[in-house]
């Protein structure tokens, strides 16, 4: 088993885990965490694609690697805004829940 395949499988698992967490975890911070995990899983899979493209003496295709770096920064920006929103919501409402009062599945 190659490292690429292993990390592909790990990445898939991480995506699955985070999708589950994103759906069921009640607190927005947990959802945010799951989103970050989802992002990292996607990035990891991109890394595997990059690794598959190792050629010309490089250990990996530099284009996806560069894109992942941009992606990490974008994801961080989202996290920063989300945390700020969450904390302000916590101050305003005393509770940082994004559920609405009505409805039970």
């Amino acid at each position: 088993m190659s490292a690429a395949l292993l990390f592909w499988l790990a990445g898939s698992g991480l995506i699955g885990l985070s999708v589950y967490g994103l759906i069921v975890n009640p607190h927005p911070l947990c959802k945010l965490l799951a989103l970050n995990l989802l992002g990292s899983g996607v990035f990891l899979l991109f890394g595997v694609i990059a690794r598959r493209g190792a050629s010309a003496g490089l250990g990996g295709d530099p284009v996806p690697q560069a894109l992942v770096i941009t992606g990490i920064v974008v994801a961080f920006s989202a996290t920063a805004i989300a945390v700020a929103l969450l904390l302000r919501l916590h101050t305003e409402a005393g509770e940082a829940s994004i559920d609405e009062e009505d409805g039970q599945p």
């Binding site: 292993l6 592909w8 898939s12 607190h27 995990l37 250990g59 530099p62 560069a66 992942v68 961080f76």
Partner: protein, 311 residues
């Protein structure tokens, strides 16, 4: 041996990631997530992506982790559950999530056999720019448009965070959501470490053109130093309306844009570098970016302005 290590790492990633998803206590989840980030940067090393590894450690794990720790600390008391999910719903969610995972995993076996790669074209054209690090080449030469926009994204993240200030607090100092202490040995660290961190950060940026590293990683280290100084109370955070601060925020984007427009003049295309000047321009740009990134990251972590509250 290596395969064994990879298997262990992959399993560990899954376990730790899963733990952070199911952990009951939010603080635990966040700390586990930080550990996960560090493991992930190891995985990136194994995937021969040192640049990504550094970025993941600095931003994905470090800065994100710090933000989440702050948040988890503040909202630790949230217990209200408006919506109670039934067990059946959990099972349903698990089934769908598993289907997604299995589907993606299965794709590994059906991806086209002949991997496509841009490694060769990148290497072929890299020498024109004078850079030695192909990832930096992609970021600052071939796809610098993405990188420019990414800087706009960062600015906007700052706007997004600042948007959450109260009107009365506008123009004040960031509310440093970390705990602040007066009589802490942290002040000693905050007085001694930053210059060293600064040297290290500049080194990372400087070296980023040729070896892994770059403005982002350097900027993060610098931001960490700045946060340390602010948290320890050695220096008050600046007012967000202060002109020098604003200048620092926009310095990187301004230089980037200026060089982009310069391209219209010299080789005749936006974001194209005049022949022979690529490297110096890129280094100048990266230096300015390091400063801006550091300031923006620091401000993002420090949070919206909170007015002149008691230290």
């Amino acid at each position: 041996m290596e395969t064994g290590f990879d298997i262990a790492l992959a399993l560990l990633l899954l376990c730790v990631g899963g733990w952070s998803v199911i952990a009951r206590n939010m603080m635990t989840a966040v700390i586990v997530f930080i550990a996960y980030g560090l493991l992930l940067s190891l995985a990136w090393v194994r995937l021969h992506a040192i640049d990504v590894s550094l970025t993941e450690a600095a931003i994905g794990s470090g800065a994100t982790g710090l933000l989440m720790v702050i948040a988890a600390h503040k909202v630790a008391g949230d217990t209200k559950r408006v919506v109670q999910l039934s067990r059946g719903f959990h099972v349903l969610a698990a089934v769908f999530a598993a289907l997604v995972a299995v589907g993606i995993a299965a794709l590994a076996f059906v991806l086209p056999g002949e991997p496509s790669s841009l490694a060769a074209p990148v290497l072929e054209r890299l020498p024109d720019s004078g850079l030695g690090n192909p990832v930096a080449g992609v970021l600052f030469v071939f796809r610098s448009f993405d990188t420019l926009l990414e800087k706009v994204v960062l600015l906007l993240a700052l706007i997004g965070v600042w948007a959450l200030a109260r009107d009365a607090d506008w123009g004040g100092v960031p509310g440093l959501r970390l705990f602040r202490e007066r009589h802490s040995v942290l002040t000693l660290l905050a007085r001694t470490l930053p210059p060293i961190g600064f040297v290290f950060a500049i080194y990372m940026t400087w070296a980023g053109a040729d070896v892994p590293g770059g403005a982002f990683q350097g900027g993060t280290v610098l931001a960490a130093m700045w946060i340390l100084v602010m948290v320890a109370g050695v220096r008050r955070p600046p007012r967000i309306s202060s002109p020098p601060l604003r200048l620092a925020i926009v310095a990187g984007p301004v230089v980037f844009l200026a060089i982009g427009f310069l391209g219209f003049l010299a080789p005749g295309a936006f974001l194209a570098y005049p022949e022979g000047f690529a490297k110096p321009l890129i280094v100048a740009m990266e230096t300015a970016l390091t400063l801006s990134i550091a300031v923006i990251l620091g401000l993002l972590i420090a949070g919206p302005p909170k007015g002149e509250d008691a230290p």
